[in-house]
Amino acid sequence: MTVWLAIGLTAAGCYLVKLLGLSVPAEMLEKPLVRRLAVLLPVALLAALTALQTFGGGTGELTVDARAVGLAAAAVALLLRAPFLLVIAVAVVGTAAARAFGG
């Protein structure tokens, strides 16, 4: 039930924020400070999520395991300007390979 609650809240919140952007007069959100924050907020969240889901272990723990290998490979793919899907594939295959050949 808590899962459905989380799904409902996320769906409602994410939809309303999309609609807000299309509906609100541009001047209201086009303030320089708001714009800068809007650029940096996803950067902060995505960076934190990448780190947490790469190194996150059980509750309150950090570990370095095969995922780190896969993500490092994905980072190289990104530097080589690989397309989106290939980057994900490289991370998945790299992680699976690291797990198969050594844990």
Binding site: A38, L41, A66, V93
Partner: protein, 283 residues
């Protein structure tokens, strides 16, 4: 970006007609139909590539303990990939539904700013806007904003939206259904798909000093908070990196004077009328 798109001959179309079904009108001139073809090609390319990664989401959701129905509900109703992965990750880590939803929501808040840019370009009528809003995400915005004229932008938005929505939901279903047959998703490395999606979305944003500083600070904050805060909360704490970096860069710019602020400060793509060359110091 054109602020006042021309109203073409198509302005006369039925207002209830979806903006994305622009096929009715004959191509006016070669340049325009060429622009439309480019938009279709861009839209299909992005839509197919990203749409297929819904498979990874389906598997990840199932691995996190969500039912097939719950995974599909997320893709149908939330339809913004990073938020979906974030929510599922937070729930899997044992986060409570409110912090999990908050993290996903803050991540989805960037779509409001895409909508802001798209509103003037797509010129959606009242009845269509609530439907089109659901498709205002990274991919549709990137394709629409990259097109040569407003008509091509509408086409690009529509093609990306429909391709991505159909494929993302289909592959989510397949991934969630197939997760059982795969056995342990970790053995296939599929637990790396979520963070890889975040990294792939993040990489093109790291084009400035301020962006890189924010990313590094966010990682440090998140990692430092993990032992002390319940699951899902470290991500929210890391969001503080954004205002902190703005604050520091504001201070530094003020101390160094307008000349330095000019160099490190303003985003090249935003000619902010009014704040002009004063950049940071203007705040």
């Amino acid at each position: 970006m054109p602020t006042a798109p021309r109203r073409g001959p198509r302005a006369a179309t039925d207002p209830r007609h979806p903006p994305f079904a622009t096929d009715g009108a004959p191509p006016a001139e070669p340049a325009r139909s060429e622009a439309r073809r480019t938009a279709v090609r861009d839209g299909l390319g992005v839509g197919v590539a990203v749409g297929l990664s819904g498979f990874a989401f389906g598997v990840t959701a199932a691995g996190a303990g969500l039912s097939v129905l719950q995974a599909c509900a997320l893709s149908l109703l939330v339809f913004t990939g990073a938020s979906q992965f974030a929510l599922v990750g937070a729930l899997a880590a044992g986060g409570n539904p409110f912090t999990a939803a908050a993290g996903a929501f803050f991540l989805g808040a960037r779509n409001a700013f895409y909508g802001l840019r798209l509103a003037g370009l797509l010129r959606l009528r009242g009845g269509v806007r609530p439907l089109a809003a659901h498709w205002v995400i990274d991919e549709t915005s990137a394709v629409a904003l990259a097109q040569a004229d407003p008509r091509a932008a509408r086409t690009g938005f529509a093609v990306t939206g429909v391709t991505l929505y159909v494929l993302w939901n289909l592959t989510t279903l397949l991934g969630a259904l197939g997760a059982g047959a795969l056995g342990d998703p970790r053995a296939w490395g599929l637990d790396a798909a979520g963070p890889a999606v975040f990294l792939a979305l993040l990489a093109p944003m790291l084009d400035g000093v301020r962006e890189r500083a924010t990313a590094m600070l966010a990682v440090l904050l998140a990692v430092a908070c993990v032992p002390f805060l319940p699951a899902g909360v470290p991500v929210l704490a890391a969001a503080a990196a954004a205002p902190l970096v703005l604050l520091v860069s504001g201070f530094r710019a003020r101390r160094a004077g307008a000349a330095t602020a000019e160099q490190e400060g303003p985003e090249p793509e935003s000619p902010e009328a009014g704040s002009g060359s004063r950049g940071e110091a203007g705040r």
